[in-house]
Symmetry: C4
Subunit: 210 residues, 4 copies
């Protein structure tokens, strides 16, 4: 007999559908805050160029958040590909993850507006931390409840945990750097994201990011 919300291929497909939807929107929303300069304030080519260059912090934080979204999109996808079945709670954990993805445009704007404030860096870091925490919880729940595909060996299981923890450790170092100056924090986190996004083959970096 069929029962409501039994684990099914359709259920997996819907998680994918809503996840890619939220990522696509978040990717586009973080751009929305890059606002076109007001026409009243611009009277020459030079002033327009100046007004566009003044948007530099927004482009910087856009690049940062674009990389962050990229990394977590792969993170979610890597996990999802290794999980064979899902129940309502695992789906709920995935939605919690999406709730923090949806908050990323807010954290990004805050950072762009208050680049020189430590609190803005901490809020951004907290967002990264919650994203990692929900991914970790999903994997842990799937691991405990025998939802991981059978052909995933113990080493791969550990690798997934390790990657999340390593990335969080790096971001925590980045966040701590705001004790010196917030811009150093942002630069460090941006560098970490660049390394992750480029997925380098060089063995030292490979080891570092797991």
């Amino acid at each position: 007999m069929k029962r409501p919300l039994e684990p099914s291929a359709e259920g997996r497909g819907r998680i994918v559908g809503i996840t890619d939807g939220v990522f696509a929107i978040a990717l586009t929303l973080i751009v929305l805050e890059i606002r076109v300069p007001s026409h009243e304030a611009v009277h020459s080519e030079g002033e327009l160029l100046g007004a566009i260059l003044a948007l530099a912090p927004r482009f910087l934080t856009y690049a940062l958040s674009f990389l962050t979204l990229t990394i977590f999109w792969f993170g979610q996808q890597a996990q999802h590909g290794l999980i064979a079945k899902s129940d309502r709670r695992l789906a709920t954990l995935n939605l919690c993850f999406l709730a923090f993805i949806a908050l990323l445009p807010f954290s990004t704007d805050l950072l762009a507006d208050f680049l020189e404030f430590r609190i803005a860096v901490l809020v951004y870091w907290l967002n990264l931390l919650m994203l990692g925490a929900t991914l970790f919880a999903s994997w842990w729940y799937a691991d405990r409840n025998d939802m991981i595909a059978e052909d995933v060996d113990a080493e791969t299981r550990r690798t997934v945990y390790n990657r999340i923890v390593k990335a969080q450790a790096l971001w925590a170092v980045g966040a701590a750097l705001c004790l010196i100056t917030p811009l150093l924090s942002i630069g460090f986190i941006l560098l970490v994201q660049l390394i992750y996004a480029a997925a380098p083959r060089a063995s030292l970096l490979r080891k570092l990011i797991g």
Copy 2:
């Protein structure tokens, strides 16, 4: 001979596509109203922290609406998984359901802005009521027109009705609490959503939420 809009697997897939799209957007839009504090009003770390903490009601209503979206996403999915075929009217009922999902960011903002007003709680509750009503109507229509999968037994059919009614009864109690004070209403509804989202195994709560 092929006729336009005959029930088909593609038709089912499109309902899923537009549903997950609307949920993904609603999930992201409710965040859009959490606005970054104005730079002019903030001159120190302390003031920025204060400005962020002042956003607390928005985070509260975001959490509430995130949970609500989660619950109805599962509700729609549970029904959809049990329905074998669909016609244009059933699809229209599903779109009506989505119309009220699309209104949820409005109801949420209203609630966040007017936490202490009964009317705001009632509008939010009305939105929940219409979501339940359209889900109920869909199931009733599918039941009457032999569109439910054959291997769904009579008990499961009843369970789907019962769950909708039980949830609505709990929210009605929550809404009625605004006669005492609106914040009590919101707290109660938030608690109900938390229980639903957590999908507890404890038998008493299980019985309560069906």
Copy 3:
């Protein structure tokens, strides 16, 4: 040998993906203009109720545009289901159709803001006309270039043309009514959309809407 952009099942799937995406966004964007009343202007439950009731024209045009989106979503789906293959031009016609779907939130807002102006009704009608024109052109192009599925008979082909023309005739009558008064126009068009959305079985209405 494989060539770029050959007609394929994947190509069909992508048309569906982008179409459902645009509809989901349009459905949600028309709500965005229903703005929460300003907190400064509201000091009592009565004033809040009044402010919400003052949003009535927006809810009216939301309902209208929701119904319009529903009708065209089914229209696009009906055609798409009967077309066996697609080339780049047919896909471009479909994207043109989507461009006018994307304009619907604009036409809707204009109508809500200028309910008593004929120009607003005419712009809305022009949007409906262009939606019908692009659907008609798609079907005509598919018909001419042998892209319709083989098991679609001549009568069904004609029916698709007829339905588009009949709907446009009804909306043209509706638009013409704005010579008397714009509100009559809107009421008539709203009625037409309600009949289409309800997809009545009564034979007289059936005949009328084809």
Copy 4:
């Protein structure tokens, strides 16, 4: 043994999902800046007509960007259809492409607001250039790493490169025309996009656009 993020059919499907999502949102966002005239400034049918006609530059740039999105949607699709497998780096290149698609509404608004400024044309052109560059890089990476489907011959591989370069050459000419006057630039680019979107069969134009 299964490893995280191994090339898979699911991975390909997710690239498609997020790509169509971003395109659907970009298509809709470029409309958002076409704002309904303020009610206070309009007191007669004539004034409303005037206010709508004053939106002409926005409709022009909307048409331009709609065509641009169409062209790159097909460009991405053409490539994706010829690529048999994908790794994380190729997916990252695809996301970089999407990051510039997401920037298109910004470039479009800038152009609409500053039609008569060369800088606005150059920013728009830079956006087109980056879109071409990321597409070129994706194809080059897939080509170098044996990810292109086996039944794609050498000529088709070259054709994909050539098309990208030809389109960029035409846009570069268009951008250079802003040395004479920005409107000439926009007109030329608009003409190029129209030709691409119409995908003409006439042999001269065919040869020109490859």
